[in-house]
Symmetry: C2
Subunit: 205 residues, 2 copies
């Protein structure tokens, strides 16, 4: 075991608390004073553990991914591509408009820093979002090879579309949209899926 005074705080717990601050205030709006108070540690401890504010933020993003991994695994292992789409969008809707207070409304990867003084932040967020899109696309590519998606379908476009709807719902959730309102968006969105029927016929009441 390594020498020296042991760390007095749990890294994951501290990251979870920092996550809430970044989530509510954004990267630039989260001050070190707020972060250290929420994490229950002093500035030198924070800098010893994470390097600097950006390092802390990147660690928070990694922690965020880890906490969402279980859901993504369930989504990516769904029976068919349609179930993948439904599970993903329903999961995002419930998560982003969480009413039980486990997370602030919205999504960390969308609202914590799309535009920043430091361009590394939007870039890091974009990479994490792109990772989700990549996972969905690869799943759909396998589906297409297996015949579960028509040859004419575009796995990349399907994945990008799901991400667009998901990110859009996150924007709405951050502004107070309810789970019920987002659930209606999900049903609209799934009506576009290959093999599904559009919501209703137009022009015939």
């Amino acid at each position: 075991m390594k020498a020296g005074r042991p760390r007095s705080f749990c890294t994951d717990t501290a990251l979870d608390r920092a996550m809430t601050v970044f989530w509510r205030k954004g990267y630039e709006g989260a001050s070190l004073a707020e972060l250290t108070e929420a994490m229950g540690i002093s500035p030198p401890s924070l800098y010893a553990a994470f390097g600097n504010k950006e390092g802390l933020f990147l660690a928070v993003l990694a922690r965020y991914d880890a906490r969402r991994q279980a859901l993504m695994d369930r989504v990516l292992n769904a029976a068919d591509p349609g179930a993948v789409a439904r599970l993903y969008l329903e999961g995002v809707a419930e998560f982003a408009a969480d009413t039980e207070g486990r997370n602030p409304p919205g999504c960390l990867l969308v609202q914590s820093g799309l535009s920043c003084s430091d361009a590394d932040i939007p870039l890091a967020l974009a990479q994490h979002r792109a990772e989700k899109e990549r996972a969905l696309r690869q799943r759909f590519e396998r589906d297409q090879e297996a015949g579960a998606l028509p040859q004419g379908a575009d796995p990349a476009a399907l994945a990008r579309y799901l991400m667009a709807v998901a990110n859009g719902m996150c924007v709405q959730a951050s502004a107070g949209a309810t789970t019920k309102e987002l659930a209606e968006v999900v049903e609209m969105a799934l009506a576009a899926w290959p093999g599904n029927k559009p919501q209703l016929r137009e022009g015939s009441p």
Copy 2:
């Protein structure tokens, strides 16, 4: 005419330049030093004209709405609800992934401050986005009364769905998505529209 030394700068031009800064850096990432330099005026002039940073930002949002009004008018006066949906999403896709450098990528109303130290900023952005959603919803309500949308359709849900897709595309555009990629998202999204057909049949190559 009112007495006193006249203003030495054009308000709208100054707001346009401030808009670009807020767009690229976000509300909190945009410093007064950057803003005054971009606007070509000194701090006292800025404060005399707009009160403070938040006042400037709100003025920029009003200016943003004014610049987008022509497009929204065209969208809202389209022949039928399907055309409204298509024109809106195509307009957002082209606008958000603008390659001609007229605007930074993405959308000011989405990326300039979803999470902020000052909660007034996300609130103001949400109100401006809600105004667009309200305009779409009211148009669809009129369509439904006129029989251009089936009675079972939900104008509020249709408007919310369009906003979700639009805002999601803005998130993707801010991360570098191209017009072509967003155009594919638009086609996917419109496949869900009442009376349209889903992209492709599932399971039959």
